[in-house]
């Protein structure tokens, strides 16, 4: 779209459809299937974008996310990540994912905040490479970026939901990604922490030039925060930022 200084497409989806019946096996004749969960999705993400992806429960947001992250295979269409077909894409360290984990998190998992953030570097390091003091420095930087450095040695089960969410962001940052997906990051987090959290996302987007894709059912909130809104309801419709256009309705029947 307009107003983006980088022209590079980080993510590009063309004609992507998905149905649970014949996922992966590429049923060629399923092109116009009624039971597509997602149908003919075109979607572009540029470097530096901050996209809010909204839609009702069951509209296909999480399915679309899983397709982009290669956890599900589409039944039709092509996906390019950093200009490369997803089937050949190897550089997964460029992409980080903050799961919807705060609400149903195992509070008894035996790990300190620092140990959890270090996990964010494991994929990038690759098999058989040990964690070094350099990795620890990167993790400390990530923790200070999210304002959680003082909690480094606390047990992960002993911090609040809002703090936990920041730790998960720090873990994502520790992999030094270019794009971060966040799946319903504020569920189970109180109002005040939510505000701090969105302020943090703005900072990451502006100061660290990170591309953010935020999945949320909370259209009003996302419309205030993101540059663009992607409404998912079996299909995907892009809208410019809410600061430019007033979004009045949840329904976009195009």
């Amino acid at each position: 779209m307009q107003k983006i200084d980088h022209t590079k497409n980080i993510i590009e989806l063309r004609g992507v459809s998905f149905s649970y019946g014949n996922s992966g096996k590429n049923g060629a004749d399923s092109a116009n299937a009624e039971d597509d969960v997602l149908h003919n999705i075109n979607f572009e993400v540029h470097k530096g974008d901050y996209i809010g992806m909204t839609g009702a429960n069951g509209a296909g947001k999480t399915t679309l996310l899983k397709i982009i992250l290669n956890l599900l295979k589409p039944s039709a269409g092509t996906i390019k990540l950093f200009g490369q077909d997803i089937k050949d894409f190897k550089d997964w360290a460029k992409i980080s994912y903050v799961p919807q984990k705060v609400a149903n998190f195992d509070k008894n998992f035996p790990a300190t905040v620092e140990e959890v953030v270090l996990m964010g570097r494991y994929g990038k390091k690759g098999l058989f490479n040990k964690i070094t003091s350099e990795d620890k420095k990167i993790c400390e930087k990530a923790l200070s970026d999210v304002g959680m450095l003082d909690f480094k040695n606390r047990m992960i089960g002993d911090i609040s939901g809002g703090q936990l969410q920041r730790v998960f962001i720090a873990r994502a940052l520790a992999g030094e990604p270019e794009v971060i997906f966040l799946d319903e990051p504020t569920s189970g987090v109180d109002e005040k922490s939510q505000n701090e959290f969105f302020a943090l996302l703005q900072k990451l987007n502006r100061e660290l030039d990170l591309t953010l894709i935020l999945i949320s059912h909370d259209l009003e909130r996302v419309a205030k925060e993101a540059m663009h809104i992607a409404c998912v309801d079996r299909t995907l419709v892009m809208h410019p930022s809410a600061s430019e256009v007033q979004i009045t309705s949840h329904h976009h029947n195009n």
Binding site: L69, N70, L71, K90, D91, W92, A93, I95, S96, Y97, V98, P99, K101, N108, F109, P110, A111, T112, E115, V116, M119, G120, Y122, G123, K124, K125, L127, F128, K130, I131, N153, M155, G157, D158, R171, G175
Partner: protein
């Protein structure tokens, strides 16, 4: 008087094997427990009984046939789980009951149960030969080397499998590695605690250490201490009191768990 125990070769061998096994079991156990896979150890131990029955029937060292059977079953369980046509725990139930059935049939072919079998079921350091100690030591080295190589991936997957996958960690490979390591650990634990008590050896010290709510690295360290204490104390107690080694070890471990559980719960509710 106390040192009388060290005059007996079988006690020395038992202690050697016991110490090695006590150090290996929690290393695997922590990943199985955190991934809610505790019952895999139980299943594989029942599979190893079928392996032992084959060994007794063919007059091969039963620990070797047990190792073969558990490795074979571990691949089978993983295949069934990945296929998603069978629930994970149903796959375990199939292998657990199936291998027990096979073991019973094979043993009846071999003219029934004998004392030898009783030792394999409940563990007896009397059955540990010096060849066993050597094999346990070699397998232990294999387990530690593999574990060390895949340590950070195992940690990441235990914490959050989906994020690990997105980060490019080869989740399938690591899961397979874990289940193979479990099979190896079960096989080398048989002579010490016996088939029916292996899962206690793998699970109890880890669950005890988890009560302390400390970092991942420290949890492993404490689990090692609890495990070592349980095995060594169990071997001594069973020697002097003439009790079953496996049973004594597990009861001591459970006593330690009960103590830590009550103690740590108190300190947390005060805090």
């Amino acid at each position: 008087m106390f040192l009388e125990i060290f005059k007996y070769d079988f006690i020395i061998r038992g202690l050697e094997a016991g110490i090695i096994v006590s150090l290996i079991a929690p290393l695997i156990g922590i990943f199985l427990v955190l991934r809610r896979y505790s019952l895999i150890a139980d299943t594989l131990s029942h599979v190893s009984l079928a392996g032992i029955a084959i060994g007794l029937l063919l007059k091969i060292n039963p620990v070797i046939t047990a190792l073969g059977a558990t490795l074979f079953a571990s691949f089978g369980i993983e295949r069934l789980r990945i296929s998603k046509k069978v629930y994970g725990e149903s796959a375990l139930a199939l292998f657990l009951s199936g291998s027990l059935a096979l073991a019973v049939v094979l043993l009846s072919l071999a003219h029934g149960f004998n004392t030898n079998l009783f030792n394999y079921l409940f563990g007896s350091i009397l059955t540990v030969t010096s060849a066993d100690v050597l094999m346990i030591a070699i397998l232990a080295v294999v387990v530690i080397v593999i574990l060390f190589a895949f340590y950070k991936e195992l940690v990441a997957i235990s914490f959050d499998e989906e994020s690990a996958k997105v980060n490019g960690i080869p989740v399938k490979l690591i899961n397979t590695v874990l289940i193979i390591l479990s099979a190896l650990t079960v096989s080398i634990s048989i002579p010490i605690v016996g088939i029916l008590l292996i899962s206690a050896l793998i699970v109890v010290p880890v669950v005890t250490a988890l009560q302390l709510r400390v970092s991942f690295a420290k949890t492993i360290l404490y689990a090692e201490i609890f495990s070592l204490f349980g095995v060594v104390a169990g071997i001594f107690a069973s020697f002097y009191l003439n009790l079953s080694t496996g049973g004594t070890i597990v009861l001591i471990m459970l006593a330690v768990f009960a103590f830590v559980f009550l103690f740590s719960n108190n300190s947390r509710s005060i805090a």
